[in-house]
């Protein structure tokens, strides 16, 4: 059914009937990232460039709460498969760049979610087999061209890389998605826990900021101990919230949150030296020593208590000597072979 509709859609695009609302391409071109360029190659709009440099994550994502798209069918596509793959290539490049730029400190999930979702949707469209193209006057799906033409299958491998990176960071656990019927992600937004965490983390950091200009996690102790007192409430609330989150998510919290927490904890613990641990070594070691004495006493006591009486040797019935058994009583033909 959908295949037919997309086939129809493709033909309609091909004949440049602009007014037609096409189900397959609507999702793709809806994100208004695609601008029909002159050379027939889709190009990125400025908004996707912005997206990469945008650090106001929460703000941006709140905008994308209303991430609903309008249909703007593409005008000039020489071959729709090429157009799709070109677009996907750009998305993959952007994703890689975004991932590396946000590697340390790790803010991968929040900054790369846009390009990830776009790439996922495009890839899904390609792989659904709804994108048609002509080859030798025959209509074939784009999927077929990509999958059956060579053994490397670069597009598929790239998609696996993107997905692998995303899954490795458990980024999915930071967001909530709504999906359309065919599995395309139509809107996504950070889930409540993530927002609360980021907010609390920001509070803690703001508190720290009053005491130290920059957060160099490798820096030495600042010597300012008032921070420990002043920011204690924020820090402990954050830490507690994180622990609960971890338990809730079965230790699969998305990496951004994990990393943010780790950095905050290190600042607290290493830079400000706020963590105080008490060490009652003497008591512990004494107890350990006492425990270690117990088995020695036990074994000595058991040895003193006496050993198990060993089993008795059983007399075996053996034919010892044919000559003597012939003449002697039966008892003497029994003997112990000791060995």
């Amino acid at each position: 059914m959908r295949l037919e509709s997309s086939l129809l859609c493709f033909l309609l695009i091909f004949f440049k009937i602009r007014e037609f609302n096409c189900t397959a391409s609507e999702l793709l071109f809806s994100s208004n990232l695609l601008d029909s360029g002159e050379g027939g190659v889709p190009q990125f709009s400025q908004s996707s460039e912005d997206l990469l440099n945008d650090h106001g994550f929460a703000k941006h994502l709140e905008e994308s709460l209303s991430f609903v798209t309008e249909s703007t069918p593409s005008e000039i596509i020489v071959s729709s498969c090429t157009a799709f793959t070109n677009y996907y290539g750009d998305l993959a490049a952007n994703f890689t760049q975004c991932a590396i730029r946000n590697a340390r400190p790790l803010k991968f999930c929040e900054h790369c979610v846009d390009v990830y979702v776009n790439s996922l949707n495009v890839y899904r469209l390609i792989m659904e087999g709804s994108i048609m193209t002509t080859s030798n006057d025959r209509n074939v799906t784009c999927k077929k061209i990509l999958l059956e033409s060579d053994r490397v299958q670069i597009v598929v491998k790239t998609a696996h890389f993107i997905q692998g990176l995303w899954d490795e960071c458990d980024c999915t656990n930071c967001f909530e998605y709504t999906q359309s019927g065919n599995g395309t992600i139509t809107s996504y937004y950070p889930n409540n826990d993530t927002l609360v965490f980021l907010d609390m983390n920001e509070q803690a950091k703001n508190c720290f900021k009053n005491f130290s200009g920059d957060f160099d996690i490798y820096g030495q102790r600042s010597g300012n101990n008032t921070v420990c007192h002043d920011c204690e409430v924020e820090y402990h609330a954050l830490s507690l919230f994180y622990d609960k989150l971890e338990e809730k998510e079965h230790r699969e919290v998305c990496m951004d949150v994990v990393d943010a927490m780790n950095i905050t904890r290190m600042i607290w613990s290493q830079q400000f030296q706020c963590r105080e641990s008490y060490d009652d070594q003497v008591l512990v070691l004494t107890l350990a020593g006492v425990f270690c004495l117990l088995p020695i006493i036990f074994y000595i006591a058991n040895m003193a208590y006496g050993a198990r009486v060993n089993g008795q040797l059983i007399r075996q019935k053996r034919l010892r000597d044919i000559q003597s058994s012939e003449t002697s009583s039966p008892d003497e033909s029994l003997n112990v072979i000791n060995t």
Binding site: S269, S277, Y278, Q316, K317, R318, E326, N335, V336, T339
Partner: protein, 863 residues
């Protein structure tokens, strides 16, 4: 009930020296008087040699302590007749607690020069407490009658039933394994959460003794509970159970080993002791569980639970429906041979459930267990393994929240090794690691042997066994605690998938990797050492951990708790293997081939191979449990080398424990250099025989005084000319009858004489009593009935295996081992019985090799 060799029967011989004439039958008074006289003679004989042991005190004391094992003894009314204290000088007063055997001069056998004379070391004894299993069909008249009635439909039904039963074995074994897994997982989570809470709290306010106490007492209590179950409930449930199953499959009946009570206590016990933090694994007990399940299901009943799925007449019951399909099928499997085959399948199912390794399971059964094997049996065993793995994976996929995703990585026991690459030049490294594994394994076995001997001697009271287990648990926890306390190795949180990260003295955002090794189930620690990236553990951490684990594991194995050996061995090996990797990496920082996880796997394999000395099945198990087949060769090399090196010093730990149990296990091959030992030297002589038509009173007296399990049935001897110097024959061999058969005949009063005809019995009557038939003391026969007669001719095995008196030892051995015999009659050239060979007669010849020295010895039999 003892086999032929060990006891000292009153000589009810019917040979030409036996003075009992066939008619008229002697009255019971006469016979009792004769027995009495004989007792006096025997006791006098014993007293003459060893005046200190005229009475039976030491014997009685020993029996009390070992009554759990051979409780049958207590039924024997005049057991001291069959047992003579003889030649033992128990010199406790001298401070030398070791029993020394001092043969009286006149009893020393002129033995062949190559057989060395030994004192009684703990490994070189055979116990007389073990019975043999009988794998030979008794083709008597009843059997043949039944065979005629069966028809082809019955054969088909039985074959189908075998597959159904094997399927059920697989499913139930896997379900038990799952419940152990899940139980341990949940209980450990609770334990670690509680302790972690107090740990984190106390690091800040300084009360470290609180988590310390909680941890220690939790462990001691859990292990104590497990130990109470074992020590007071079912002592045979202790340990891994693999030695016991090996003995069972070899043909030795170990009391209680396949009972449902054993299964229950083993399963609960192992869950509690693993949660109690002992350095043990749950795999061995799972294998034992599989064997018990197999034995139970195939029999279709449990005598302990008084449950029996054989044909009933109540059409309304559910049982009737079951029986509609399985009527008389279970009954058909109530023989030692069928049971053995199912137990082999069950053990394989246990291995595959424990490691998720179906092929490894079959090979394990083949390599370690089964002494008797054929193709059809292999298929069924493989089917059981397959079903077991499949069931386990389905259940665990639900547990892990990925239903029916059967390739889920979490289902692999030791985690998936994605891409291990190795090239040829690394193979010497693996071989060297094999050498280390072999040496450490041999050392482990020797140490454990010493500890086990000590335990046997001094820690035999039940309460002290429980206390010892609790103490070991305590010390294990103390070591763990002190090590996490002293060795600070901090890693960033979130770097590794740690279940319960402990911070200890690390900064916020970090965890102590030393603590994490202790703070999870041992199996999870193996996974961590295999898969955590380089840098997670500092060299000191793994070195200290491996060192401590080695000794703790060695100390722990042999406690009276259910405990597997695989995981602690793997963990020790993984620790030193990883250490090797780290050291190489430090020495050659640019070497690309060094992968600490890979070397940890090799170390684990080498260590395990060095301890248990299995090669084939272990290699396959490790390959399957890590999901990596391309790395098979290095694993095989490490295992092979480890076995070669280890075998130079001692045997595998399972074999050591089998020998410490004094089990008469028959090895694969007859001992070398025994061709000049003849049947007449091997056999027990004279044999206790029964006439083909025997007076009931005589039979009862024989059974009461003599606890053999099989008796040659003879016909009155014919006047055969016997030359000077020949062994006196005891009558013409007509058949062999088992003690259990005689008892069934007595219970059913199948007597003839005085115009009485015997009531009809069939095979079902005999099968009903399998495997526990009443003791002779429970058989009540009136004085009048004693004078009646028993006709054995249609109940005995009319065509028993027999050998001539000059048959060589290897021939006897092969016959015995290959056919799974229990009694082998020795006849002279006139077909007259002159003796009987049983398992112990053969097992007492033992060939030993140690550090390149080989020797043949004959070992004594003790009570």
């Amino acid at each position: 009930m003892m086999d032929e060799v060990d006891e000292n029967c009153p000589l009810l011989r019917h040979g030409r020296q036996g003075a009992t004439p066939p008619s008229p039958p002697p009255t019971s008074e006469v016979l009792n008087a004769a027995v009495h006289q004989l007792n006096a003679v025997i006791e006098g004989f014993g007293a003459r040699d060893d005046p200190g042991h005229g009475d039976d005190n030491s014997d009685g004391e020993f029996e009390a302590s070992e009554s759990a094992l051979n409780h049958q003894h207590t039924h024997r009314p005049i057991h001291h007749v069959c047992r003579t204290n003889y030649g033992i000088n128990n010199d406790v007063e001298d401070g030398n607690l070791r029993n020394r055997f001092q043969p009286a001069a006149e009893d020393v056998v002129p033995s062949s020069p190559k057989i060395t004379i030994e004192s009684l070391p703990d490994m070189n004894q055979l116990s007389n407490a073990y019975e043999s299993l009988d794998y030979d069909d008794c083709e008597n008249d009843l059997f043949l009658e039944e065979e005629r009635r069966k028809g082809y439909r019955h054969i088909l039904k039985v074959q189908l039933a075998r597959w159904v039963i094997v399927f059920m074995i697989g499913v139930i074994t896997a379900l038990i394994a799952c419940s152990i897994d899940i139980c341990i997982d949940q209980l450990s989570a609770i334990k670690f959460r509680i302790i972690k809470y107090h740990y984190d709290r106390c690091m800040l306010i300084g009360c470290m003794s609180v988590p310390f106490f909680i941890w220690v007492s939790w462990d001691a209590l859990f292990v104590g509970f497990s130990s109470i179950l074992v020590a007071y409930g079912e002592p045979v449930a202790a340990g891994s159970g693999i030695p016991q199953i090996k003995c069972f499959l070899n043909g030795v009946k170990i009391a209680h080993v396949v009972r449902i009570k054993t299964l229950l206590f083993k399963v609960i016990g192992v869950a509690f002791s693993v949660v109690g933090g002992l350095t043990i694994g749950k795999e061995g007990p799972m294998i034992h569980s599989g064997a018990v399940v197999a034995a139970g299901i195939s029999q279709g009943r449990s005598t302990s639970m008084r449950l029996d799925f054989k044909a009933t007449e109540q059409p309304s019951s559910l049982r009737y429906l079951i029986n509609f399909f399985l009527s008389q099928i279970f009954e058909y499997f109530r023989t030692d041979q069928e049971k053995r085959d199912f137990v082999a399948a069950g053990a394989a199912a246990g291995v595959s459930a424990a490691f998720g390794a179906p092929v490894g399971g079959v090979l394990f059964s083949l390599e370690e267990g089964a002494s008797f094997w054929n193709q059809g049996q292999t298929w069924r065993t493989f089917f059981a393994s397959m079903v077991s793995t499949f069931t386990l994976n389905i259940v665990l996929s639900y547990y892990h929240g990925v239903p029916w995703q059967l390739n889920y990585n979490g289902l692999l026991n030791f985690g998936k090794f994605d891409e291990i690459s190795y090239s040829g030049f690394e193979i010497p490294v693996y071989a060297v690691m094999g050498v280390i594994g072999g040496l450490l394994g041999a050392f482990f076995n020797h140490l454990n042997y010493r500890i086990s001997v000590f335990r046997r001697r001094y820690i035999f009271r039940r309460w002290s066994q429980v206390m010892e287990s609790m103490l070991v648990a305590t010390i294990t926890t103390v070591v763990a605690f002190v090590m996490t306390y002293m060795v600070v190795d901090c890693q960033a949180l979130g770097k590794d998938p740690i279940e319960h990260p402990l911070q200890v003295f690390c900064h916020d955002g970090q965890y102590s990797s030393m603590a994490s090794l202790w703070f999870q189930a041992p199996e999870a620690s193996v996974r961590s050492l295999f898969h955590d990236p380089y840098g997670t553990y500092r060299p000191l951490t793994v070195a200290v951990f491996g060192f401590a684990y080695f000794f703790l594991a060695c100390w722990t194995y042999g406690l009276s708790v259910p405990s597997g050996l695989f995981i602690p061995s793997l963990l020790t090996g993984a620790a030193w293997g990883r250490l090797v990797g780290i050291v190489i990496k430090i020495m050659f920082p640019t070497a690309q081939w060094v992968d600490v996880g890979k070397l940890a796997l090799i170390g684990a394999a080498a260590q395990l191979g060095g301890i248990v000395r299995m090669t084939l099945s272990l290699a396959v198990i490790l390959i399957e449990a890590t999901g990596n087949i391309s790395f098979g060769l290095p694993i095989m090399i490490a295992l092979m080398v480890a076995k070669w090196i280890g075998d130079f010093f001692n045997e595998g730990l399972y074999d050591i424990h089998i020998k410490l149990m004094r089990v008469p296990l028959l090895p694969w091959e007859p001992p070398p250099m025994t061709h000049n030992i003849r049947a007449k030297e091997v056999m027990s002589h004279p044999a206790a025989t029964i006439k083909i038509i025997e007076r009931v009173g005589t039979v009862i007296d024989l059974l009461q005084t003599c606890n053999h399990d099989g008796f040659p049935v003879i016909e009155e001897d014919l006047p055969v000319a016997q030359r000077e110097g020949e062994i006196p024959g005891q009558g013409l061999l007509r058949g062999v009858i088992a003690r259990s058969q005689i008892i069934v005949l007595l219970v059913n009063k199948v007597f003839i004489g005085r115009g009485q005809t015997a009531p009809h019995v069939n095979m079902a009557t005999f099968r009903d009593t399998y495997p526990r038939y009443p003791a002779i003391s429970d058989v009540h026969v009136s004085v009048r009935e004693r004078e009646l007669f028993l006709d054995m001719s249609s109940f005995m095995n009319p065509a028993p295996y027999a050998v001539f008196d000059n048959t060589s030892m290897p021939r006897i051995f092969k016959l015995f081992r290959g056919l799974g015999l229990r009694h082998l009659v020795v006849v002279d050239k006139f077909n007259q019985v002159i003796g009987v060979i049983t398992r112990k007669d053969l097992a007492r010849y033992r060939f030993e090799s140690h550090k390149g020295n080989v020797r043949l010895m004959e070992i004594p039999i003790t009570s």
